[in-house]
């Protein structure tokens, strides 16, 4: 077995090895005969009909079809593929099995005509020439075929011609005349008068002219060892018995002409030969008349009576075929060394090509890692001699000459020395810049940090303890975001310490979140609180409406930013100046830019080039066909737009992901009637978040988008103002945020509880999605939808209340009120100070994409007018009922501001 161990010898394996037997393997039950199945290459069962009914079935149950039925060659429209004519070959109707090795038309590799046929023809010609001599009828060997053979020459002939060979010449080195003459003695294929002429020329031939060798047919002369008469063709038992095929061995008993044919392996000669016993030596039977020409071929003219005189005319002069050549030619396919098939016209190489020896790669050591470490170049002057020695000993690459290492290895003071500059007056280290107090504080921070890492109980100062208690409390509250806690504890304190000093200067603070004004505002708030020494500055300044994860991340960012950009001493900050040109990241944004251009164009009513974009778009082929339109891109296989601009924050990119916190938080607030004023501030962020672009035109009387733009611009301006003036933190924006933060503080605990509950119980939508039947289309619609539909499906009992509302404000109440609480919320929004609304606007505009996942479907399209049947229903039934619908009450309560209500309703 070949799979035996790794012995050095190579074995050739035939067949599939048996599965190795294991001793303790249970004896497997042999598969009974009737359950054994045969499958073909395609995995179809081959059913055995029985030997007399056709053996294995073919195709699909002896049909040409398949399991799917018979598919005709598909119709090809002549419209697009006019030029393509179906060129059907017999192979098209054959199965794959037929092409296999044992099929009816096995595919084999054959040399192309260029290489094969020419060579064959040449051989055939010669063989024919030889066999013609031996033929019964002279010139029987397909003279006509030769005449009408196609004028095609093989590459070999072509090459020979290019090399100067001409038809009729022999192949070989050119010869002197003398030698040729010598050749001539034995006669040549040329007609006798030609040879005479050449002999005449011979006398005048110059010395330096050489001639091509004669083209001769190789002939081997075999001695006549038998006692038959000349020209007697003995009975070849193989041919006589209808074998027809030549045997491998050389038959000494055949005529030389026969041998020649077999030598060239001419197929035709075998076919031409008549089977059966056909020897002439048997004479003529008594019943036959042909007795005149017994020795048909044996005339004296066939014999040479002059040695070296007249040409026999058979053209078989030249050279005797060597024995080796004969053997080799005879059985090219039976080479012992090679087991495969040899192509026609090819022979095995006589010399084995040198096998390239491939050396295996070197064995890598086990701990080798394919990374190169650049060892630090150590200046000997700066390193202690012992270390230097050690380094030198270890790798011998310690740099001896410092200046040669280049300017990068020098520090500023060294460069300064070399250049002869006067050193800067300022202190050399950052620490020197700090005041003693600050330095102390820094040390304290370091100490506090290390201590905190050890244990919370070992705190030295009361301040730290309080802070840590606060942070621990925060940590308890933020159990969800535990991954942010590690930094929150220690770094918050450091930040607090860094910022709570008098040195902090608001005007010089860095703006790390400038591209997100809201975030920056929150960060500013945090910084201001830090300055005031507020311990839980971080928690209070974060937006409560954000998710826990977002909050955690922002917390992390703020603390880091605060540490990174902590206030510096005036002497240090004096070394740096603010850049004059602030890089306005928000105005650089390209897409925004484009939108602005478009908007401006729309505003100026300059539709056309500015507002039009044209893309390449590939319709589906079938679509083109259905529209009776030729495919604009016949070659391409892409469908749709080659490069698709996709909105990153499209609602439908998030269709599958439901933000549980968003959804669940939205649900209770919607169900809660906004009765108490205390819940209102909690709801307002919801309202602002719920906005989509649809409500913009309704809310602002002027052009909504331009208003929005101006708003954002003004806010950017405000942010800039803030940076310019130290007291800019008193801008209304921040105040609002601050108050917001305080409110969240009050509510953090109950919120946390809520969230904990939500964590336990997945949102209702999930249940709906799982358990709602497919026919229940309601499940996909939002709560707003539900309320709307509830009304539609609701029994007429609840209608009278609506009718009463309608009578109070006829034009408005004709429209149904899908979510009255939202309306109310909106009212409050409208009545709030403008600063807050703007803040909300901006907030919503920035956070809308992220939050839109939780939004209702209804908000993304123009709303449909309310069904008119309600009105009808009202007319139909006037019976009153017990009031369960609080919505209608709300409606009554806001009747006085019906105008406003209508507007807000249109928005939502």
């Amino acid at each position: 077995m070949a799979s035996d161990e790794d012995s050095d010898e190579d074995f050739v394996t035939y067949g599939t090895p048996l599965e190795p037997l294991e001793e303790d393997e249970p004896v497997r039950k042999p598969v009974p005969v009737h359950e054994q199945t045969v499958k073909d290459e395609k995995g179809r069962y081959k059913r055995f009909h029985g030997a007399f009914t056709g053996g294995f079935s073919a195709g699909y149950f002896n049909t040409v079809g398949s399991q799917e039925g018979w598919t005709p060659s598909t119709f090809v429209s002549s419209r697009q593929q006019k030029a393509e004519k179906p060129n059907i070959r017999p192979e098209d109707f054959m199965d794959e099995e037929d092409f296999s090795e044992h099929g009816i038309a096995p595919r084999e590799i054959v040399p192309t005509d260029d290489f094969a046929s020419g060579k064959k023809d040449q051989l055939k010609d010669k063989a024919r020439a030889v066999s013609s001599l031996a033929a019964l009828i002279p010139g029987d060997t397909g003279l006509l075929e030769e005449l009408i053979a196609p004028a095609r020459s093989s590459i070999g002939v072509e090459l020979l011609r290019k090399m100067g060979w001409k038809d009729g010449q022999g192949v070989g080195p050119r010869l002197k005349r003398k030698q040729r003459k010598q050749n001539d003695v034995y006669g040549c294929a040329f007609p006798p008068n030609g040879s005479e002429e050449s002999e005449d020329e011979d006398e005048f031939a110059p010395e330096n002219v050489s001639f091509a060798p004669k083209d001769v047919v190789p002939v081997d002369f075999t001695p006549k060892v038998d006692s038959h008469g000349l020209g007697y063709r003995g009975l070849n038992p193989l041919q006589a018995l209808g074998g027809g095929s030549e045997t491998g061995h050389i038959n000494l008993f055949t005529l030389q002409s026969d041998r020649t044919t077999s030598l060239f392996g001419d197929r035709n000669s075998g076919q031409q030969r008549r089977g059966g016993i056909g020897g002439q030596a048997f004479g003529v039977g008594a019943m036959e008349e042909e007795d005149t020409d017994i020795y048909h071929k044996d005339s004296m003219s066939n014999y040479d009576n002059v040695l070296g005189g007249e040409e026999p005319g058979d053209g078989l002069y030249g050279w005797t075929a060597p024995q080796q050549y004969t053997r080799k030619k005879n059985d090219p396919k039976r080479d012992v060394a090679y087991l495969g098939r040899i192509l026609d016209g090819f022979t095995l190489a006589s010399q084995v090509t040198e096998i390239k020896t491939v050396y295996p790669p070197p064995d890598l050591p086990r701990d080798y890692r394919p990374v190169h470490y650049f060892r630090p170049v150590v200046d000997s002057s700066t390193v202690s001699p012992i270390v230097a020695q050690a380094l030198q000993a270890s790798r011998g690459r310690l740099s001896q000459d410092a200046p040669q290492q280049g300017r990068h290895s020098l520090d500023s003071s060294q460069r300064c020395d070399m250049l002869g500059e006067t050193p800067l007056q300022g202190p050399s280290s950052v620490f020197e810049l700090l005041g003693s107090k600050d330095r102390e504080r820094l040390n304290e921070i370091r100490r506090a940090a290390t201590e905190q890492n050890k244990s919370v109980e070992n705190l030295s100062s009361a301040v730290d303890r309080a802070a840590v208690v606060a942070s621990a409390k925060a940590a308890a509250l933020q159990a969800l975001s535990s991954r942010f806690q590690s930094i929150a504890s220690s770094e918050t304190q450091m930040a607090l310490k860094a910022w709570s000093g008098p040195t902090a200067d608001a005007s010089k603070t860095f703006k790390p979140f400038a591209e997100n004004p809201l975030k920056q505002a929150r960060y500013d708030l945090y910084i201001t609180k830090l300055k005031q020494g507020n311990k839980d500055a971080l928690e209070s300044s974060l937006d409560s409406s954000m998710t826990e994860w977002e909050r955690g991340r922002e917390r992390d960012e703020f603390v880091r930013a605060a540490l990174l950009y902590k206030p510096s001493n005036s002497s240090l900050s004096s070394r740096f100046t603010r850049s004059k040109h602030e890089d306005d990241t928000d105005s650089v944004d390209v897409t925004r830019d484009q939108e602005e251009i478009c908007l401006a164009a729309v505003k100026m009513k300059m539709f056309g080039k500015l507002t039009r974009e044209t893309f390449e778009w590939h319709p589906d082929k079938l679509l083109c066909k259905r529209f009776n339109v030729p495919d604009p891109y016949p070659g391409s296989s892409t469908v749709g737009m080659p490069k698709v601009k996709r909105d990153k924050y499209s609602v439908f990119n998030f269709l599958t992901i439901t933000d549980s916190s968003q959804v669940s938080r939205g649900a209770p607030s919607a169900s809660k009637p906004p009765s108490s004023s205390s819940t209102l501030p909690h709801l307002t962020p919801e309202v602002s978040n719920k906005k989509s672009r649809w409500d913009i035109p309704g809310q602002e009387p002027k052009d909504p988008l331009s208003a929005f733009l101006s708003e954002t611009r003004s806010e950017v301006l405000a942010a800039k103002n803030q940076t310019d003036s130290p007291h800019a933190t008193a801008t209304p924006e921040v105040k609002v945020a601050q108050s917001d933060g305080k409110q969240t503080e009050q509510k953090t605990e109950e919120e946390e509880k809520e969230e904990d509950e939500e964590e336990v119980r997945p949102p209702m939508d999930l249940f709906k999605a799982i358990f709602a039947s497919s026919s229940d289309e309601k499940s996909s619609s939002s709560s707003e939808d539900d309320s709307e539909e509830e009304k539609e499906v609701a029994p007429p009992a609840s209608d009278p209340i609506q009718s009463s509302a309608e009578t109070l404000n006829p034009p408005v109440s004709a429209q149904s009120t899908p979510a009255p609480d939202i309306k109310l919320k909106h009212l409050t929004v409208q009545s709030m100070p403008s600063a807050e609304t703007t803040a909300q606007n901006t907030q919503s505009s920035h956070s809308a994409p992220a939050k839109s996942q939780g939004l209702d479907e209804e908000e993304f399209g123009p709303r449909l007018p309310p069904p008119g049947k309600q009105k009808k229903r009202v007319e139909e039934s006037n019976s009153s009922s017990d009031d369960t619908d609080s919505n209608s009450e709300d409606e009554n309560s806001v009747v006085s501001t019906s105008e406003l209500l209508q507007r807000s309703e249109l928005i939502f």
Binding site: C598, L599, A601, V602, F607, G608, K609, T611, R612, E613, T614, F615, E616, W617, H618, P619, D620, L622, L623, R626, F627, N628, V629, P632, V639, G640, M641, V644, K645, R646, D647, S650, F652, L655, R693, W694, P697, G698, P704, L705, E777, K778, S780, E792, P811, A814, Q815, E857, F860, G861, P862, R863, L864, P865, P867, G868, K869, K871, L906, I907
Partner: protein
């Protein structure tokens, strides 16, 4: 012809109320003429689709099968098939005569706002709130769309199909025109969410109404604005707009209960047709005659150029014409 054509008449506007059809199917979300204008299709919010005779106002057939309110309908050129779309996210292909559902196609992720056949009714195109337009093959049994056009960044509110073009209005404030012949997509930025788009009947212009209470007529090839029509109210609802039968006037629904007629060339308000008190949500103009359908709440109104009696006489003429499609079924 021996005589020259008479001077073109001053186009008559359908300003006389011919009849009011109480549809009894909740709010009528959309009202459409069929391909030849002899029949009326109404989409009800009670999940039903109804076929009416335009001349007599009688109910001919009710098609039930949608799971939620029906939002749009279109009839095939030979009146043999209808396609409708619904809030239940499906598109249904109906057999007009039998009233059976031929095919119910699911695939949209949200409610389907608009649906249209192509010219030969081989493809149905449906636009949904999920921001995609899906092209459904009516010839094959495949339940997958041939192609999904998802270039819109917000919901699709309206779509129209011409010979080789798809006009699609989206809530992202853009009108997209897919040219199948050229293999191009033209995007026109309007700014405000689009509620309805139309081709002009000569196929050279596109009409789009948007939520900034403006209807704009744009040149199809260049995208330049040819006219801007305003005065109506369209701020929250998906309202229809259209062109009159001879492209002489631009019509739009309004939230103030009127239908506004503007002269297409002069951009002046020609007529403010009072329909009712509520929002006129949908309208449809007769393909060849000055006839108009409007839907408000639960009823549909048929408007004609001349008062009822005269129309009645003409009705006979119309009735004498050979009819195709549903007429055979209805006897």
């Amino acid at each position: 012809m021996a005589f020259p054509q008479p001077r073109p008449q001053v186009p008559q506007l359908p300003q006389h109320l011919l009849r009011t059809i109480e549809c009894q199917q909740g709010a009528v979300r959309a009202v459409r003429f069929n391909a030849d204008g002899n029949y009326v299709l109404t989409c009800g919010s009670d999940k039903s689709l109804k076929l009416w005779s335009a001349s007599r106002g009688t109910l001919l057939k009710t098609y039930t099968g949608h799971g939620y309110e029906v939002l749009d309908v279109d009839s095939s050129f030979d009146n043999s098939q209808l396609c409708s779309c619904s809030s239940d996210k499906t598109v249904i292909l109906w057999d007009v005569a039998s009233g059976q559902v031929t095919r119910k196609l699911r695939g949209h992720a949200g409610k389907v706002n608009c649906v249209q056949f192509n010219e030969e009714a081989t493809v149905m195109l449906s636009g949904s709130i999920d921001g995609t337009v899906r092209c459904w093959d009516t010839r094959s049994r495949r339940y997958e769309p041939i192609q999904i056009l998802d270039e819109a960044q917000d919901g699709i509110s309206s779509l129209k199909v011409s010979e080789h073009e798809l006009l699609i209005g989206s809530v992202d404030g853009r009108v997209r025109r897919y040219d199948l012949r050229m293999g191009q997509l033209h995007v026109d930025f309007i700014g405000s969410p689009i509620t309805c788009v139309c081709f002009s009947r000569d196929g050279q212009c596109t009409l789009s109404s948007s939520l900034d209470s403006t209807v704009r007529l744009l040149d199809k090839s260049s995208g330049e604005m040819l006219g801007e029509y305003s005065g109506h109210v369209n701020k929250g609802y998906k309202l229809d707009c259209c062109l009159s039968d001879k492209d002489t006037h631009v019509l739009s629904c309004s939230e103030d209960g009127h239908v506004y007629f503007w002269d297409l060339v002069e951009v002046s308000l020609t007529l403010k047709l009072p329909v009712g008190k509520a929002v006129v949500q949908s309208l449809s103009f007769h393909p060849t005659e000055p006839r108009l359908l409007t839907s408000m709440e639960g009823h549909v109104q048929v408007w004609g150029a001349e008062p009822e009696t005269e129309i009645g006489e003409r009705e006979v003429v119309v009735g004498g014409e050979p009819r195709t499609g549903p007429a055979a079924v209805l006897k």
